[in-house]
């Protein structure tokens, strides 16, 4: 399973984790997404920073990794589509994200920027993860197997060539960005004041 390029191994892997995490932290904070107001306003469709960051990351990373995968240089890491678990987990996640005001990654970044509510929410995350660990045996037996489609990718659902899916992804992102730009232009004088 080792890809040709992945030459960082052993103890160097630990340093790589720290270094890549560092860059991720810089990007989350610099992008403004480690901010409660930015995240909650995204869910209220009053600020589109989160969608812009995520969709650009998906398109750039997606096309890059698609090309490298085609050359046999990287492996895919697909999480199983255990549909009951994914749908109910995602529903809880969406509710929790609005109440906490951060996601796990941006919460960590917000702590580093001095946000004390992010820190208290992190303690909540430690408690919630423990709750999950204690429930895991029951969940593994009763929830995870329900509707498990396996490690499926979207191209496996329809017999279209891979590149068509990626072209669709790029077009979709373009449409989303165009719509967002229009909405921002319309609401610029009233609701989109940069300084609160």
């Amino acid at each position: 399973m080792n890809s040709i390029l992945s030459f960082i191994t052993g103890p160097n892997l630990l340093w790589a984790g720290l270094a890549f995490g560092f860059l991720f932290g810089v990007l989350l904070h610099s992008g403004g997404v480690a901010d409660y107001n930015v995240i909650v306003k995204q869910f209220l469709f009053r600020d589109f920073t989160v969608l812009k960051v995520m969709f650009t990351a998906i398109v750039v990373g997606g096309v890059g990794i698609f090309i490298l995968h085609g050359q046999g240089l990287v492996n895919f890491h697909i999480k199983p589509a255990a549909m009951l678990a994914v749908v109910s987990g995602a529903a809880l996640f969406g509710i929790g994200m609005v109440i906490y005001g951060y996601c796990p990654g941006t919460g960590v970044a917000a702590i580093a920027a001095g946000k004390l509510d992010a820190l208290v929410g992190f303690l909540g995350m430690l408690a919630g993860a423990a709750l999950y660990a204690f429930s895991y045996d029951w969940i593994a037996a009763n929830i995870l197997p329900v509707g498990d489609l396996g490690k499926k990718r979207l191209p496996q659902l329809a017999t279209l060539p891979e590149w068509v899916w990626y072209a669709g992804l790029v077009v979709m992102a373009g449409v989303v960005f165009a719509v967002v730009a229009r909405v921002e232009k319309k609401s610029a004088p009233s609701t989109l004041s940069k300084e609160p």
């Binding site: 992945s6 995490g21 750039v60 969406g94």
Partner: protein, 173 residues
Amino acid sequence: MKTYRWNPYLVGALIGVLSILTFSLVDKPIGMSTGIAQASGACALPVLGSAGVAANTYWAKKAVPAWDYGSLFVLGTLFGAFVSAVVSGSFKLESVPSVWRERFGPSVIKRMAAAFLGGVVIIFGARLADGCTSGHGISGSLQLAVSSWTFFIVMFATGAVTAFILFRHRPQS
């Protein structure tokens, strides 16, 4: 307060490049919530003892409390964001964000209680779905995983409904 932001499209593109680097150099996608589950196992160590933690299937097999690539990635994120906050001059101790204050008032206790509860719910959801905004939202979506696009759509929809229920009243001035 000074707002310091890079262009969101640039930041997104750089996160995409970072994903390409982690996939190709260490054969790992970017992910956050497993590392937090590992940290929770580490916090359970003094309470349950190492035998108690090892007896838990999840901490023994899925999120082993140890310093490995994943948990160090979380620590790195903390360091990186801290350096970015300090260098940009935007580091500021704050308990109640402005959007929350406009809607629910200045009470610190109220905000902290909500943050804690939200933290419990979000990580339980992340572990149940096997990923968060990083692991599913970015890393999984860019590989066109069925699980991740399902996560993205359901998470965004329930988040929007929750936000409209909680914040539907515009701030009165």
